[in-house]
Subunit: 202 residues, 2 copies
């Protein structure tokens, strides 16, 4: 089965979200054979949490739920054949990476960058809040890391990320990942397959 | 593939939980061919929520999340070929039904009763907090409804439900449904298949 030529899934996610790692790591393999276009759209989810009156991720408010989350993420990663190590620090600042991705959303290396950042955090326990860590990832992609980081911290790029996060908020996003397909939202890595099925049905 | 002769999944759930409806409606069809024993174990989840410092279901704290939940439950029901209508009142008192199920956990009609109560609420919009509604379900099962309700409100049965709910709490339950397989917990209808796979692997 092939999708309509305009079929597209927008994935709103945060680089500090473990279930976002699972979805970003899985989505290309699922959507490519179906001819579905994917737009990876990192946002500053914390800003939405704050607006909704949450201090942080709802998982953090409850130790019991958080403990379970890590067990579950490890199980899901194993099930999907993905590497995973629980990071030492959670959550983590994701704004540096989110700004780079927003500034260079059209770049050919954009999707590879997103996945590498998620893996740096959820597999290699790197502190992705540090510009130096993001720079290293950019250099590994043979890019001018310094120039990219400098541009990404410009006021215009900060504004772009704010606009994208507000867009997610308008769409009704309250967690990550959220897949948006023609206005319909699908929350959580568990719903990735449902989002794909919906994309094929419209 | 067949499970070990002792393979068992305990499903802790609450009659007012929509995802519990999905799991209870689905589980027999999945587990029967695999020779897995299922124990349906309704609890008073509200007591655990209170202990964890939540006023009620975490879904209720956030209108945006709650709105999404109903869309999602309807989608999942459709996907699995189950009837579903959003009930007028949510959540709802589930203690009458939970006490009946606890008191008669060994009865042949126990599982059918559980599913009928969930359907009464999530398909037929019945107020299952009312003893009269539960009595009607019991009569439809050709049972002595009055005797059952009377026995179910005895102090000893109230105590049994408290013990079962405490047991769930000890196991780390924080939401419903929670499937328990050999000490491992799997939370949410999304994890039913994982619980079954785990049951086959141990």
């Amino acid at each position: 089965m092939q999708a309509d030529v305009n079929a597209r899934i927008d994935v709103y996610f945060d680089f500090s979200s473990p279930y976002s790692y699972l979805s970003v790591a899985r989505i290309q393999q699922i959507t490519k054979p179906l001819n579905i276009t994917v737009r990876l759209m990192p946002i500053a989810l914390g800003a939405i949490f704050q607006k909704l009156g949450w201090q942080s991720s709802p998982f953090l408010e409850q130790p019991r739920k958080l403990d379970y989350m890590w067990i579950d993420v490890a199980r899901q990663a194993r099930k999907h054949g993905l590497e995973f190590e629980k990071p030492a620090q959670f959550p983590i600042g994701s704004i540096v990476a989110a700004r780079v991705a927003t500034a260079y959303k059209e770049a050919q290396w954009h999707d590879a960058f997103c996945l590498r950042v998620l893996k740096a955090y959820f597999v290699d326990n790197k502190d992705i809040s540090q510009p130096a860590v993001i720079e290293k990832i950019l250099r590994e992609l043979n890019l001018d890391a310094e120039e990219i980081i400098t541009h990404s911290t410009s006021e215009s790029v900060k504004g772009l990320l704010r606009v994208r996060t507000e867009q997610a908020d308008q769409l009704g996003v309250f967690g990550a990942p959220t897949m948006v397909v023609g206005g319909a939202i699908f929350w959580g890595d568990d719903r990735l397959e449902d989002a794909v099925a919906h994309c094929l049905s419209i």
